[in-house]
């Protein structure tokens, strides 16, 4: 019998190809792991509809499990309930910040269609709240770009979703 926790531990080693400090577990995109005899069923949920990393993540999970000797694997994508940054682990948020990306604020603070509603984002380098939005879309769809008005550095913010 395969130990479910063992599989979760292996998944901790599968990194997001675009934010390499985060594992797929940190990101909160692994929705479930089910074991039936020697069969492993994994359900993942996409971050963004068009996230090009999803196919890579799918393959990376499969390769990692094969590497550990598991052969009978199915990976399914499930859209609902939709992924939210609230599912990102606290550990993941710390790793993001240490990597120089401001972690997402809690969702209830923001995420409306109203305009110019600026959210306070803390600079991951100097911890100043004195920051300014440069662009709502940055290097990937899941990030926006800010600048710190104190340390003058530009930084990515993993926006709430």
């Amino acid at each position: 019998m395969i130990d479910e926790q063992h599989i979760w531990n292996i998944l901790e080693d599968v990194k997001d190809p675009e934010v390499s400090v985060l594992s797929v577990v940190d990101l909160g995109i692994v929705r479930s792991v089910k074991i039936l005899d020697d069969k492993i069923d994994i359900v993942i949920t996409p971050t963004y509809s068009g996230c090009p990393a999803m196919d890579v993540i799918n393959m990376d999970i499969r390769l990692k499990l094969i590497e550990k000797g598991f052969r009978n694997i199915t990976i399914q994508q499930q859209l609902s309930p939709a992924w939210t940054t609230d599912w990102m682990s606290e550990e993941g948020k710390k790793k993001l910040k240490a990597f120089g990306i401001a972690p997402p604020n809690p969702k209830q603070q923001f995420c409306t269609s109203e305009m110019f509603q600026q959210e306070a984002v803390q600079c991951p380098r100097c911890n100043s709240w004195h920051t300014q939005l440069i662009s709502q879309f940055a290097s990937t769809a899941c990030k926006s770009m800010y600048r710190c008005l104190d340390c003058k550095e530009a930084f990515d913010y993993f926006k709430c979703h």
Partner: protein, 264 residues
Amino acid sequence: MSTKNFIYALHLADNALILAQRNAEWTGHGPVLEQDIAVTNISLDLLGQARNFYQYATVLFNGFSDKQKEEVNQFIPRLWKEYHRELQEDDLAFLRDEHQYLNLLITELPRGDWAQAVLRQFFFSAFQFYLYQQLQNNTDQQLAAIAGKSIKEVTYHLRWSAEWVIRLGDGTEESNDRIKNALADQWSFTGELFMPHDYELIDVNTLRESWTKKIEDILSQAGLVLPKQTWMQSGGKAGKHTEHLGYLLAEMQYLQRAYPNSTW
């Protein structure tokens, strides 16, 4: 699920795909790097939505009875029929002819200048926002799931495009001229959003009020007024398109038509 759900999924997918393709034309041509990245990120979100809808459409189609397949035959690409395999998402995107596309006309209008691009995005995102709000409660659970997933992305698109409409309207004389021209050009394509068609699972007429309120609010902040003109273009939902769609498809579908079933 009925054939109506299949056709509606195609319509929703086509809207997203065609605008994704138009926005992708900005790749490397945005006014500044950040906005180049923003508009192409929006394109990517829309492409993802389109894929979800197409994938669902293929699941429905492949599960249809022969009678149901016959009912939707007019939307199925001819080339695929020679492939003798199940229908796939790429077949729907890359092998259908112009008249089989059910996208709104506004999504296929040429790229235009930056004012045209942001205004179109604003009109469309506001529409998608109210549409998905309703669709996420639909009894078709997969369409509801895709809408629930996508509305978070659309919320960002709406904010971004609305901010640009205000920035241009409230900016320089040049930017004000351009957004005014865009408004005059595009307004007659907004009526189609709210003209119901028999395959729609949402009564789009009920979205008109919220949409108009949002548009008026942003336009007034931009120092612009709603055009008075009331005659509206239509046809996209029924597969009758402007001349622009053919050129778009010719470019987008070139590879799969020249080298059928090629992958890389």
